[in-house]
Symmetry: C2
Subunit: 375 residues, 2 copies
Amino acid sequence: MIYLDNAATSFPKPEQVYLRIDDVLRRISGNPGRASHRMAIEASRVIFSAREAVAKLINIPDSSRVAFTKNATEAVNIALKGLLKQGDHLITTSFEHNSVAKTVGRLEQGGIEVTRVRPDNEGFITAKDIELAIRKNTKIVCVSHASNVFGTLQDIEEIGALCKKKGIIFMADGAQTVGALPIDINKMNIDILAATGHKALFGPQGTGFLYLREGIEPEPLVNGGTGELDTVLEVPDRLESGTMNTPGVGGLCAGVEFLLNEGVQKIRYHEEGLIAELLRGLGEIEGVNIIGPKQASKRAALVAFNIEGKKPAEVGIKLDEQFEIMVRTGAHCAPDAHREAGTHPDGAVRVSPGYFTKPQEISFFLDAVRTIAKK
Amino acid sequence: MIYLDNAATSFPKPEQVYLRIDDVLRRISGNPGRASHRMAIEASRVIFSAREAVAKLINIPDSSRVAFTKNATEAVNIALKGLLKQGDHLITTSFEHNSVAKTVGRLEQGGIEVTRVRPDNEGFITAKDIELAIRKNTKIVCVSHASNVFGTLQDIEEIGALCKKKGIIFMADGAQTVGALPIDINKMNIDILAATGHKALFGPQGTGFLYLREGIEPEPLVNGGTGELDTVLEVPDRLESGTMNTPGVGGLCAGVEFLLNEGVQKIRYHEEGLIAELLRGLGEIEGVNIIGPKQASKRAALVAFNIEGKKPAEVGIKLDEQFEIMVRTGAHCAPDAHREAGTHPDGAVRVSPGYFTKPQEISFFLDAVRTIAKK
């Protein structure tokens, strides 16, 4: 079995992730931040250690600005719905994942003004495109660091610098990049970062986080939890009502520790090498059309493509049934991106290697695609 | 170490819960309901099995009416915020947990009318109290099946019958009761049930669910996920945007299977016996004041109390440090309930045994309280 669907969920996880989750479940009970007994205090430590690990990874000076969420989608929703008010203007792109696209659509119905910047053929947008869209009431610029369909890595440092200059909040959706590429909140001028735990951070499903620069305090989507009044609570408490996913966040912490130990740059070199090989190999197969940039250095670790005359779902089933290769097919929860790529509604086949993918698995995959394309 | 904080989080979990979570993590990847490859399909099966197990437990005819959430707080928020519109009237109680109380407070600010029915000295409310509060625009009656401070079991069947007669949606907060007591959605006329996974259902933290009778389709708090338009999605998909907590829900499923196998009634007999012993023992200690009913049969498996002249936090620390007994002290995220109990702001000591608690642990606990009360 060859797993090449890491852009959906990384698999396998490092052994220490499995062990940490089991340890938290078997040894630590009680609700973090609530009771005073020793196990509840240890549960709080699990959460705190994870905040510290995430903060270290992306250079956040104060780890209390990291709020844990159940996934990146929740993180995106909290930030956009909790900050934008009627009459505000939002700039985003025309090819966002549904987590952003649908949330923005809902906000638009509620009176938020929206501009969707369109990409070039390879999926790039520029700071210039964004600058042209800025209005007096522009409050947030929200851009995916890398599209989950195009794979295109945006120059978010440049976009962040523009937003800083203009006094606009810059929000990045890092679902495909946090953990996979070196990210520095300060250097990149990121005010808000939404991330998932179960992809490049090697955590389990059910985890994600939202980073918010000091002073940015969204209205919570979910009320409850501790304290007398919501209004006195700050991030992270105001956004973490209800019992937290302590074992999941513990596993996320173990994943981030693994990353910090290996080094994000080392992981990136490995994955970029595999992507270069995929682009080279797929580019040589007749009838294969690749979505997005042809250079690995301009991509996150995923390649979406189609084989002329074949439905992506059909290709995916053959890869699974005949070759035991797992890839993702269809719209990838991003119909808008497929509209921009000209691949709506069938979508594409998306192959996404991970840190544990071996070069020979890429060769085997390319052979399989060659065989399927020939028939 | 004696763990008596099961009303916060049950501990330990049945062995099969630990094993199931580890198995899902190590063997199954992919996002449920998304890709077509075999591991993603298996992930979908994990979620489906859990829906079926929950449905079986509380007699839901169609398991697709169960939406998984990250905790009970999220479930409560989805139901109340997703259904109530400006001008609607809500009836709840004056002693709800913050998950309801704070959410209702926020809704009130947004123009929802609210009536809070007050309990008697033992924490009981009656259908008559609720009937008196009904207005023409009453849309939802929301009541905790058992308060996490009083422990009082409400006659929700009677309240449900009233709501049914009046054509009002009846919502129960089952955080302290689902899994601990026999619950039958139909017999009890429950239209909406919010539940947590990590208490009596023996699942891990990070899980919960919301049951909604057919035809009740709240606006989602979180947009995203699959599909072209949110409006065409029904429960559960409309409420489960973003990647789900597959290992957590797998663990929850194993917990519910354990419950179904043991029999909820057997678990209830065990816990009711322990509560009777606690009430008897605590009642005999001079200076101990118990909050809520004096009969075990009228209670969920928790007893909150105070020792005259001693702060609950101080009692809790002594129980932990001198006797290695874990209980919960303070406001229990329910300051409103402590206001009604006359124990605000210090709160109380809450002892909550579980299915794995032994009678001799209760004796040891009572001895410890006796010792602390004497000093």
